[in-house]
Amino acid sequence: MPIKRQTIRDHSAEANLFARRAVIAALVVFALLALVVSNLYVLQVEHYEDYQTRSNGNRIKVLPVAPNRGLIYDRNGVLLAENRPVYSLEIIPEQVSNLDETLQVLQALMGITDEEIADFKKSLRGQRRFKPVALRTRLSEEEVARFASRSHRFTGVSVEARLTRYYPFKDTLTHVVGYVSKINKKDLQKIQEAGEEDNYAATYDIGKLGIEKYHEDILHGKVGFQQVEVNSQGRIIRTLDVQPPTPGRDIVLNLDIRLQQAAQQALKDMRGTIVISSTKTGGILAMYSNPGYDPNLFVHGISSKNYSALLNSPDRPLINRATQGQYPPASTVKPLLGLLGLESKKIDEEYSINDTGRFRLPNVTHVWRDWKKWGHGKGVNITKAIELSCDTYYYGLAYEMGIDAISDYMSDFGFGDYTGIDLYEESDANLPNRGWKKARFNQPWYIGDTIAVGIGQGYWTSTPVQLIHATNALVNNGTRFVPQILRGYHELGGDTTLEPLKTLRPIEIVDQNNWNIIHDAMFKTVNSDIGTARFAFANTPYQSAGKTGTAQLFSVAQDAEYVAEEVDERLRDNAMYVGYAPYDNPEITVVVVVENVGGGSKYAAPMARKMMDAYFELYRPEMFASTNDTQGAAE
């Protein structure tokens, strides 16, 4: 672009003008620096003595005070996470006249090991001056007393108390309640991004897992400040003023620790999970994943040996199987698939098949087989198909409905998506559809894939919490509650302010009768004389409904038979059960998944019954002994 010139440019005149202006600028710079210097002269020379006195007498410091972390209770007020004081022996090196001698005396007095001395000396380097350095953490009460009686002889050495978390129920609750641990660099970065540095200025631990992590903002509280007088060495002499911290709120969980313990006892040493929710609110009454581990290990920093043992264990204790375990839902979703068949009018109540134990598609050589080798015979309608868990019926039904309809409807029930439970450790598992298979394997969807999905197998996986969520939606006629562990807040005086219930988009009902047919079929599964769960639930004082499931983790060759003893243990069937009770007015829903043990009716259904028995013994004792008082249902 050519520059338009109004007149001929006089470069030397411009250069002179610029030089003059530069000189003026330099003079202004001089003048302003002179102003700075004169001000510094006033501060540093004229008022030197004044400021020196103020510096020497500078005694008032503002220190942050950490808030006490909110406690965690179960629904009946049992303390699940508490704060306990721990004591540590700390030294401010600058205040000790002869450090080596002091260390020697302390070594004799407190039985400090050479290793601890070495660690202490290591942490001395790179430490801020006048900052305390810990010589021993987690002193016993006896050690605290021993030092306290002689503390006057040790200037610069003190016992400091701090509250830390303790989880009295240890491995029973790890996956749900989680744990806190020391704030690390990554946490610090998150705190800074959230603009919470000031609030965490004095905080030592932060929630790392489970409820402790998810509800960190409720539990943490707000930092306080303390105005203290210190001497010229930085040691606190007295406290002048305190703006106390606001402690974190005590929270109440939907959990009932007794049911949680019952779940742990039922699973014994089997890998698996049991989830119990209150049917009409989605509140989680129990959620146990086996095996667990002791969360207290993490509070004070787990040793790398212990950690790698947990990490590398083939039983994968670090996983919360209830929310992260991705299992084929198997026959437990047959009621939902049947409901879709009825609602989409592919079948009706009357429609039945003659089950020969084999299912074929036209022009396909592959044969899909029922779990029962000779089939269930004539007259298998939808009710019987659920009662008997007839695979053949569902192969045909899935073929009729097609993957698109199945995938859409199951996603309405929450499969393939996060349930929104208040845990960060949640998987969305996998609800397959055409697009997913294309993206994942770059393959088209085959009809055979649909047939497998029709019995809850194939590419379909779900988490137990998804199963309980979907079952609740089925029982509640389409209303969907987010499974919630948090029940509310503990107020002074013992009252609980309830957290509002959260709902998700409900499922549309085409014909209420269809839903009733399915409920009835699940009732018959438990109560008829042919139902797959009839043995497990024989003679219960309440009426329940449910569905068994046996998930294959291993494809049996076309003409081979599945023989448990011949299959590698990790590839044996998962036993599953979903159920709810009482049938007339449901209060609880139970999901059981036991890994690699075998059939659902044999292994999972009896555990679900144990859970229902435990619940009704606690909340409906009149069912078992007619004279006891009613405690009221958990809603």
Binding site: I3, R5, Q6, T7, R9, D10, H11, E14, A15, L17, F18, A19, R21, A22, A25, A26, V29, F30, L32, L33, L35, V36, V37, N39, L40, Y41, L43, Q44, V45, H47, Y48, D50, Y51, Q52, R54, S55, N56, N58, I60, K61, V62, G126, Q127, R128, R129, F130, K131, E193, G195, Q227, V230, S232, G234
Partner: protein
């Protein structure tokens, strides 16, 4: 004879790498002073020093790279750099990340970027480009457009809100216009207008916390444990340093953590406490040396664009020094401007040394385009 050949040799080496040796030495001395002070202010944390050295290394690399670019290339880039910068400032206000309660960062997916930093160079480039298109001294319409070019980004940045940076950017643009030869009568008029604008800014542009800072500055003793605490503690640190200082690592105000932001914005208080007025005078001498050298390079530059840009970069550097020392010693309100090349921190360091890179490029260009 020998002396002159040595001198020519030295000239040719620095010319080949486009490095102005006196300026480089001044900057390096300053950085060394910074490291020594950060070590003390940061509680003898060697990790802090290592990170600062890495940053200095990167910043020096940027400086050397930019020194190789001919000033005319920057001139051609000016309008694009400015246009892109303004767009990004608007984007920050709309989509920006909020860090420390202010929206300054733009997340481009692969990198988080603070457009206001780039504007510290883009604004003087743009103003210098625009003003130098016409004969100097600039006429009234050009001055008005020049000021508009300055005011738009200044307001956008003040809205983020980042008072310190908007002040630096405003001054960088104004310096370019001043150096171009804006008439004294107009200067008086503008000064009057700015005076009238201040109440408007107070009411409409400043956030509550910024107003609080200014009020506290007016009378720090009213709130000795709240926001006045910083200024009081900082003045005690400086005053108690006296003539000779308490000695390196011996400043009680900093070592006992009475001073806030010790290794960043308030590092000058730590320096004054430990090295006293004598140390401060030496530090000021280094700054003055760099500023005078920068102005010399500007005066010697080949064309109006280079002169205006070089002069503006140098004087903006001075504004850092003056505002930081002023706020730490209590004669200016606390606006969050670091002590250049001494304070710990990375973002402003790269911009500062990038500016010096351009300055060196201008100062060492061959006299090709002369007259």
């Amino acid at each position: 004879m020998k002396r002159s050949t040595l001198r020519e040799n030295h000239l040719s080496i620095s010319h080949r790498f486009h490095v102005d040796l006196p300026l480089l030495i001044g900057l390096l001395v300053l950085m060394a002073v910074g490291l020594v002070t950060i070590y003390s202010a940061g509680g003898q944390d060697i990790g802090l020093i290592e990170r600062q050295i890495v940053r200095l290394g990167i910043a020096l690399g940027v400086m050397l790279a930019l020194a190789q670019v001919p000033p005319m290339a920057f001139r051609r880039l000016s309008i694009y750099a400015y246009g892109a910068g303004v767009l990004m400032l608007v984007a920050v206000l709309v989509f920006g990340d909020i860090g420390k309660g202010a929206q300054r960062w733009l997340d481009l997916g692969f990198v988080r970027f603070q457009p206001s930093e780039a504007m510290k160079l883009a604004v003087p480039m743009m103003v210098a480009w625009y003003i130098s298109k016409f004969n100097l001294p600039p006429r009234l319409p050009h001055i008005i457009i020049g000021f508009t070019l300055v005011v738009v980004p200044t307001i956008l940045i003040a809205k983020q809100p980042d008072l310190g940076t908007s002040l630096l950017i405003a001054s960088s643009g104004v310096f370019a216009i001043f150096l171009a030869g804006m008439s004294w009568r107009l200067i008086m008029l503008v000064a009057g207008l700015v005076g009238a604008f201040l109440p408007v800014m107070w009411i409409f542009l400043m956030q509550d916390y910024q107003k609080q800072r200014v009020l506290t500055f007016m009378n720090p003793e009213t709130d000795p444990l709240g926001s006045g605490y910083h200024i009081i503690q900082s003045k005690i640190a400086i005053g108690s340093g006296g003539l000779e200082g308490k000695g390196w690592l011996q400043g009680t105000q900093s070592q006992l953590e009475f001073l806030p932001e010790r290794h960043t914005d308030f590092i000058f208080a730590v320096f004054s406490e430990e090295f006293g007025l004598i140390g401060v005078l030496a530090l000021l001498a280094i700054y003055l040396f760099i500023i005078i050298r920068g102005l010399m390079l500007a005066v010697r530059a080949q064309n109006a664009y280079s002169k205006l840009l070089a002069g503006s970069i140098t004087l903006t550097f001075f504004v850092y020094v003056f505002v930081n020392m002023g706020m730490v010693s209590g004669i200016l309100p606390v606006v969050g401007v670091p002590l250049p090349l001494v304070s710990y921190g990375g973002t402003s360091m790269v911009t500062l040394l990038a500016g010096f890179g351009m300055l060196m490029g201008i100062g060492t260009q061959k006299k090709l385009l002369s007259r």
